[in-house]
Amino acid sequence: MFPPLQDLYRIAPELVLCGFGLVIMLLAPVVPRAKQGVLTALAIGGAGLALGATQLPMWYPGPAYSGVFRADDYSLFVHWIVCGVAVLAILGSARYLHRESYDAGEFCALILFATAGMGVMAGAQELVTAFIGLEMSSISSYILASYKRDAPRSNEAAMKYFLLGSFATAFFLYGVALTYGATGTTRLDLMAKSSSAPADTLLKLGLGFIFVGLAFKVAAAPFQFWTPDVYEGAPAPVTALLSTGPKAAAFALLLRILANVEAAGALWFWALWAAAALSMFAGNLAALVQTSVKRMLAYSSIAHAGYILAAIAAAAATEQYESGIAAALFYLVTYALVKLGAFLIVAQLGGAGERHMEIEDFAGLARRQPAMAACLSLFLLSLLGLPVTAGFLGKFYVFNAALETNQSALIWLAVLLGLNSVIAAYYYLRVIVVMYMREPKQEIIAEPVPWTLSLALWIASAGTVYAGLFPARIIGFAAKAALNLR
């Protein structure tokens, strides 16, 4: 039976993404190697179209496919993030693929499929559907992580990612099964209604497993051990994607469960709190001693997962979870823009085969490539949370949400967050010091920056400054999205 048209509208972005992905896959063997640009262009078009197609679910909000999927402001918001990430990631990697002479078709198609999976996670209102989305995005990213086929690091990264990732998905699936056993449904909205016995051990166990699975996906401590190796080993544009899109989607799923299943809030609160605190310290302290920029950024993304978890803990602590969720969503936007930009710059500056990844290699960059240095500085300052950049407002809203709960546990978490920003300042500033204040030790020939990459970087930096100066619309929409989440 053909599904009703409205249901199709509600998953329009996913359809577009998958459609373009398939077309690219089909075309890839027939397009000659010299003209791979066509495929990249097609992929960018596809992702852009998907971004535009988010209009359709906006016009037809509501549950689709008998309630397993839901198109609402919330899923829309996350769709914007993941589709935007896809557009920028493909834009930024167009030239990189050529330089490393990788197959563009497969690469782009996998990104599109992964994005579709993330979209499903964002909209899923049923745990098995969410699982399908999770698998779609995970499996695509496993392959993407190993895209440097002849590099052992990349293979190691992919293997690690795959093994640990499978464990995590298994945990998630167990959790889904157990919650089903406890509540008799896998649909979140029904679960909310049937949560007659929130103290049920089965439900607790199930939610616990789900939390572990998702905590792995967002790289929160103590499930973060794979992160630095995978992020370092994977090709830099893939890292850019991995550290933003899947994370946003997993957070989105976490939040949706949190908002719908009442028992989750009480049960997860301390887990969220501990994971937030641990991730901040684990990420920041380890990042302090890194010599490779890529690895440092990997650790910093663990720390940022901790900051977002702090906002979610604030949401879990009270009945009025909106400001916590809105803060988390806003933070995701700012984080995605910045992290993506930073990794894309690293990909470009690394040179062929990503040779120049050490911080020392960035010495004198301000003279060699002032625009790149300025861009990277902007991103680093935003990660640090300096005013006028988006990162500052992200942190500000997290503080706001944490203090709004008026609970001492969260106020302390806010203080820990503050301390961590100071620790983090040291290593972010160190890169800026090297770029602006040191002379290069060896001569590194600057590669010309392709226009696709500059476009992506322009978008990312403009977004960073825009969100830092005029956050009203974004935070307003995030608050609206958080409101109709349930």
Binding site: L386, P387, F399, G418, Y436, M437, A472, I475
Partner: protein, 529 residues
């Protein structure tokens, strides 16, 4: 009102001229402020209010009062002078240098004029980055270390202040008047609509105070200052010492006192002790420095101790003296740093033993340096005397012991300043190559003359300045002096909250509240001017 200019200059040869022109224009604009400033009004003037972010309500709210007025002028005065001072000495990456300097000016002015806590914090943090670059790129040998130390210290303090700001906002939201607006929050606190518990007030006070104390810097937190000052280029040191340090004392005056009066009162003795330690310790350490720039840096620790002491004596005269001393310190220490920088331009060293007998080759510099030294040491008829006298006079009326100890600092300051002056300028020329040093050129002379003129003017005609500070100082003290309203407000909210426990609790409450209020009122400085 104040155009917050962000300058982009592309033309290489014209950069410094353009920068100078912008800075001078800004100075000219800021001169309009005292011109049309109404000295009798206590509130803020020239206010500008636009909604920036509707939710949470953050406004672009600017305005000046008697406290910030002259600090703004000081900033706009010192910036063109430091641009002039860097005219020839900055040879590399001029564009970046002058842009940093102007952004810095924007940030500092923003701090002084913003009347929205969020905006205040924004400027407070934004100005770190240009300063960081100024020290880190154009500084001396250990510049990177100094720049990092500077920024990490400041950030540590400011992040706690950010939490406190958000907390304060949350409190105001709970009082059904969510706002970041500084006058509004002060009003809420003063009329008791927003009542802080003793514990909350202490924490908030501590968070704000720590940020400001690091900036000032108050005694145990001062260690970033000598490094940052010594390593910074001349213009950086001038702005750092002249204006940035004042942001700390300004913050204390603007936030700590009027918003958290009880906590301020409670901690005042401890703070005064730290300030006095700072005064004496700074002076003693300055005495043994071998590096001229470091000496001036430590003298800042000592002088800022005076300012803090004056503020926390809670006396109208001493607070006025503190504001006055902030200006003095900006001008005299600015002049000293400029003069030291001019020496550095000639000899590329700051070490005292490299100099000696410089009065022979450099008579003009020697004369102007002496003038600044005397002003800094507090010679009557020059500005330093007025400020320190007001502070000591005010403090003495409250706490004679504090003032006596602090006066020791005044003596010590003349010791180390004159001592170093003697070593550098008097006697025969000790090093042969110092013999041929060229004296000040017209540009350098002009810079120092302008500052010397201010020193003289502020020394003999202080009433022009104090007249404009008076009303605002009184307003700060008035905000502090409302224990009745303050306690009454708290009582009321407690009544409302305490409804359910029953009437016993509510009956006991007023007694306790008035009991704690009475001694506080008795010991309060009822200003008598």
């Amino acid at each position: 009102m104040l155009g917050l200019l962000l300058l982009r200059s592309e033309d290489y040869a014209w950069i410094r001229r353009l920068a100078l022109a912008v800075a001078l224009a800004e100075f000219a604009i800021s001169l309009l402020l005292p011109w049309s400033f109404n000295p009798n009004a206590a509130g803020f003037q020239f206010e500008e209010l636009h909604v920036w972010i509707p939710q949470p309500p953050i406004h672009y709210h600017l305005g000046v009062d008697g406290i910030s007025l002259f600090l703004v002028l000081l900033t706009t005065l010192l910036t063109p002078l430091s641009i002039l001072a860097s005219w020839d000495s900055i040879r590399e990456r001029q564009k970046g240098f002058f842009i940093s300097l102007l952004v810095l000016e924007t940030g500092v002015i923003g701090v002084f004029v913003s009347l929205d806590l969020f905006l205040f914090f924004l400027f407070w943090e934004v100005m770190l980055i240009p300063m960081y670059f100024l020290i880190g790129i154009w500084g001396h040998e250990r510049r990177i270390y100094a720049a990092l130390k500077f920024i990490l210290y400041t950030m540590f303090g400011s992040i706690l202040m950010l939490i406190a700001i958000v907390w304060l906002y949350r409190m105001s939201a709970e009082a059904r008047a969510p706002t970041f607006d500084i006058p509004q929050i002060q009003m809420l606190l003063a009329n008791g609509n927003l009542a802080l518990s003793r514990k909350t007030e202490t924490w908030l006070f501590a968070a704000f105070f720590l940020a400001f104390a690091i900036k000032v810097p108050l005694f145990p937190l001062h260690t970033w200052l000598p490094d940052a000052h010594t390593e910074a280029p001349t213009a950086g040191s001038v702005i750092l010492a002249g204006v940035l340090l004042k942001m700390g004392t300004y913050g204390m005056l603007r936030f700590c006192l009027p918003m958290f009066p009880e906590a301020s009162r409670r901690f005042a003795p401890a703070i005064a002790v730290l300030a006095i330690i700072g005064i004496v310790y700074g002076a003693l350490v300055a005495m043994v420095q071998t590096d001229l720039k470091r000496l001036v840096a430590y003298s800042s620790v000592s002088h800022l101790g005076f300012v803090v002491l004056g503020i926390f004596a809670f006396h109208a005269i001493s607070i006025e003296g503190s504001i006055y001393q902030m200006l003095n310190h900006g001008i005299t220490t600015g002049a000293l740093f400029l003069a030291v920088g001019m020496l550095y331009d000639r000899r590329h060293t700051h070490l005292i033993h490299e100099f000696g007998g410089l009065a022979t080759p450099l008579p003009a510099l020697a004369a102007l340096y002496l003038f600044s030294c005397l002003a800094s040491a507090g010679l009557p008829m020059l500005n330093g005397f007025v400020g320190e006298f007001l502070i000591l006079a005010g403090t003495f009326q409250r706490h004679a012991a504090w003032a006596s100890w602090a006066a020791l600092g005044m003596i010590l300051s003349s010791v180390y300043l004159l001592w170093s002056y003697q070593k550098v300028f008097f006697g025969g020329v000790t090093e042969a190559r110092n013999q041929a040093l060229p004296d000040l050129n017209r540009r350098e002379r002009g810079i120092l003359f302008v500052l010397a003129a201010f020193m003289l003017w502020m020394g003999i005609g202080p009433s022009y300045f104090t007249h404009r500070m008076e009303a605002s100082t009184q307003a700060v003290l008035q905000l502090m002096q409302r224990p009745q309203a303050y306690n009454a407000g708290r009582m009321n909210t407690r009544d409302i909250i305490g409804m359910n426990p029953g009437s016993v609790g509510t009956a006991a409450m007023p007694v306790a509240a008035t009991g704690s209020g009475a001694p506080a009122r008795g010991s309060l400085p009822v200003n008598s001017r």
